[in-house]
């Protein structure tokens, strides 16, 4: 598979094929087992054989890894009961194995509305399993660059990861643009203003404010390189780390709390021409991001 293939345009299965060593992926609870959602038939909606979540193991440059990939085109990659249980099971396996890193290929709008309670419970179970895996010293790396972005409970899970890589197209947040507009009014956030959405939640902003470790190009090769580098990024997961992160977030509010727009944040960070950041090409942006002072941290 070509390394230049777009991550954003690919399906979850294509991403796994492009990310991992050739033919190394072995799926757990594959589609032939037909573990489909028990809720969707009640709404007269078609199921998908893998419930939009593909889990298994594979190799990355020879290193054994556990992987989970969400299919963002099936119900917006949303978390339902089975979808969530597959990721919980994978993370619990990582906790038991104690040495095999986990890669999560996020592509999700959050909890699936048709199975809301089961989905919310799944988010809680996944976060617990993820943190328990991290307590054994296992890195859990999130890769974000899909159509649905990483929203709702997906944003919470991403926040629990040991490291994240995000592309320009990847968006990370909890409440999505439409949710904010619905609850707080169009003056607060105009969800139809795509440029506003991307510069508030998009990959470039997340990289600049320290919400993601690596800014990836929208290609298989770039996400593969990012995953490889983050596998070795295993910060100690201790109370001291969390206290340091709390202090970092307090400083961030103190410094940027009055900013009206992401452009103001980038100006304060020292970007010479902050207005040009959204249109900046990948390579130029990576140089700029490395130059700008961003606080180092081990949580987010």
């Amino acid at each position: 598979m070509s390394g230049a293939l777009s991550w954003y345009e690919s399906t979850a299965r294509q991403r796994l094929a492009g990310l991992l060593d050739q033919d190394s992926f072995v799926e757990f609870v594959g589609p032939e087992q037909r573990e489909t959602s028990p809720h969707l038939p009640l709404f007269d909606l078609p199921a998908q054989f893998d419930d939009g979540m593909i889990v298994g193991q594979g190799r990355l440059e020879g290193t054994q890894v556990l992987v989970a990939a969400q299919e963002g085109r099936f119900m917006g990659g949303a978390f339902g009961e089975v979808h969530g249980a597959k990721l919980t099971g994978l993370l619990r396996a990582a906790r038991e194995l104690r040495s095999t890193p986990v890669l999560i290929l996020f592509d999700t709008g959050g909890v699936r509305l048709q199975e809301a309670n089961a989905g919310e419970l799944a988010i809680a179970e996944i976060m617990r399993a993820l943190l328990e895996a991290r307590l054994t010293g296992v890195p859990v790396v999130g890769l974000i660059g899909g159509r649905a972005g990483c929203y709702g409970g997906g944003g919470l899970i991403a926040g629990c990861c040991s490291a994240l890589a995000v592309s320009e197209q990847g968006r990370i947040s909890v409440s999505g643009p439409e949710v904010i507009e619905t609850n707080r009014g169009v003056e607060e956030f105009d969800s139809k203003d795509r440029a506003l959405v991307w510069r508030t939640m998009g990959g470039k902003h997340r990289r600049l404010i320290g919400g993601a470790e690596i800014f990836a190009d929208d290609s298989m090769a770039s996400f593969r390189a990012a995953a490889l580098s983050l596998l070795h990024h295993v910060p100690p997961f201790t109370a001291k780390t969390l206290e340091a992160e709390q202090a970092r977030l307090e400083q961030r509010i103190a410094r940027f709390g009055r900013c009206e727009d992401a452009v103001d944040v980038w100006t304060l960070l020292g970007a010479p021409d902050a207005l040009s950041v959204p249109a900046m090409a990948y390579a130029d942006f990576v140089v700029l991001a490395d130059q700008l002072e961003t606080s180092h941290h081990d949580a987010r």
């Binding site: 399906t11 299965r13 589609p31 007269d44 078609p46 199921a47 054989f49 299919e71 085109r73 099936f74």
Partner: protein
Amino acid sequence: MEQLNYHHTARSRAKGSRQQAIVGVVASGDLEVLVERTLPDGECEVDIRTSVTGFGDVWRAVVADFVQLRSPGGLKLSVNDGGARPDMVSLRLAQAVRAVAGDRP
């Protein structure tokens, strides 16, 4: 939801040695096809669950064309449909046969 099931005899065994493959996605205007090599060489089964009811005649025609063109002997194809048009269905069924033959999907 409507469930449709078609059994056909096929001229020859489908190529390749992979036991199963999956193509497509359940999204608006699209479908997924899980193909499994579980039947005797001369048989083919297509099992469909679709969100759009009342198009049994169209499905019957599309599946009959598919079996005639691709000769998918030995294959069971299970379809979850999100309201795909007949041309999309034909392409996905053909893609499934290529995938189980071992060609890159």
